[in-house]
Symmetry: C2
């Protein structure tokens, strides 16, 4: 009923439309959900982090391309017994509901980004999201220096943000010029003043937690 599968960075986990007789959750690593149009235009529509869930009870085919962004381990359950478990163990669907609601909120924030933010705001928002996520393993990001490695290529960033990779590169350079970010290497990013980055996101930051 339950088994593990490993993928290398860059490998495709499943293609949109493929038969999918399991559901799965991420054990370690990061994966992406992407939609592709016939002419090749691509939009990333989800980011799967450890503990996140893929696949839908009661659906036989994958709705998105799933790709390993880093080396990835997934824990898979055959669909039939999993659905059985959902019926017998009420907590499972409650927990799944919680997680899905979180994803829906994230998707809606992302919609605002895609529909209304400028290229610069999009980049700043993405960096802030990643920084916060990485920091959610303990330390508070809001004060002092933050640094992290970017798992995404410029092209993947552009797929996430609905931009071209050239625009991503130019805006990264602009943020560097302005001192909002420091590029220790192409992938290693330091943020000297996290608040300064937040100010570039276009988001309301009055509502921030003050604790």
């Amino acid at each position: 009923m339950k088994y593990y599968r490993s993928f290398e960075a860059g490998q495709t986990v499943i293609w949109s439309g493929d038969k999918m007789d399991f559901v799965a959750s991420v054990v370690s690593g990061v994966a992406t959900l992407t939609k592709t149009m016939e002419d090749g235009r691509r939009q990333m529509v989800g980011l799967l982090l450890p503990s996140d869930f893929v696949g839908r009870p009661g659906r036989a085919h994958a709705a998105y391309d799933v790709t390993a962004l880093t080396d990835l381990v997934m824990c898979c359950f055959r669909k039939a017994p999993f659905e059985e478990m959902m019926n017998t163990t009420p907590h499972v669907s409650q927990r799944l509901l919680e997680m899905t609601l979180d994803e829906l909120d994230a998707a809606r924030e992302w919609m605002q980004l895609l529909g209304r933010k400028t290229a610069r705001e999009k980049i700043a928002s993405l960096l802030a999201i990643i920084a916060r996520r990485d920091a959610s393993l303990g330390l508070r990001p809001a004060k002092g220096k933050v640094a992290f490695d970017l798992a995404l290529t410029r092209e993947q960033m552009s797929d996430y943000l609905g931009l071209t990779l050239e625009t991503v590169s130019r805006q990264m350079s602009a943020l560097k010029r302005d001192g909002t970010i420091v590029l220790a290497s192409k992938r290693r990013i330091e943020i000297p003043h996290f608040d300064a980055l937040l100010a570039e996101t276009g988001d309301d930051n009055d509502g921030g937690v003050l604790t």
Copy 2:
């Protein structure tokens, strides 16, 4: 525990950030979920149709502006007893999970629209979605003439699509010029060949149902 509330077209149901001690579902009419930025930029992030659900178990404040698009009746439940019911009746959270997963799929399709489609494709997609929804009350839209009344103003369409209202108006005119749509009046829309409209959406239409 349960009560009904009515709203007139255009009325605000609740503002983002307001205290919200109930959850609700739409009985009749249409409502929108919108995010607003400090400088007034707006993005619609959800459309609530009859049977759709608003509010989140375990959250005290509204995350979005909710506005009645048409005259609207909602059925509200106080949050505490509703959460109690979720624990005692497992089917409730299963059903809620189903609905939330549908909304998540819709949100992701919407993300693709916002991030990667042209203005013309966005308009065609919106019209196709509305036509299909209106038609889901029985008849098959794919063949023959389809017609419906548009509940949205041009400005609301622009909030939905991440465009300006002028661009919406221009693209509507362009689709009219090309014969893809016919405007019986400003709000009454006829689609002589539904397939022709679908071809303008940019979506894959090979995968269409053939039944």
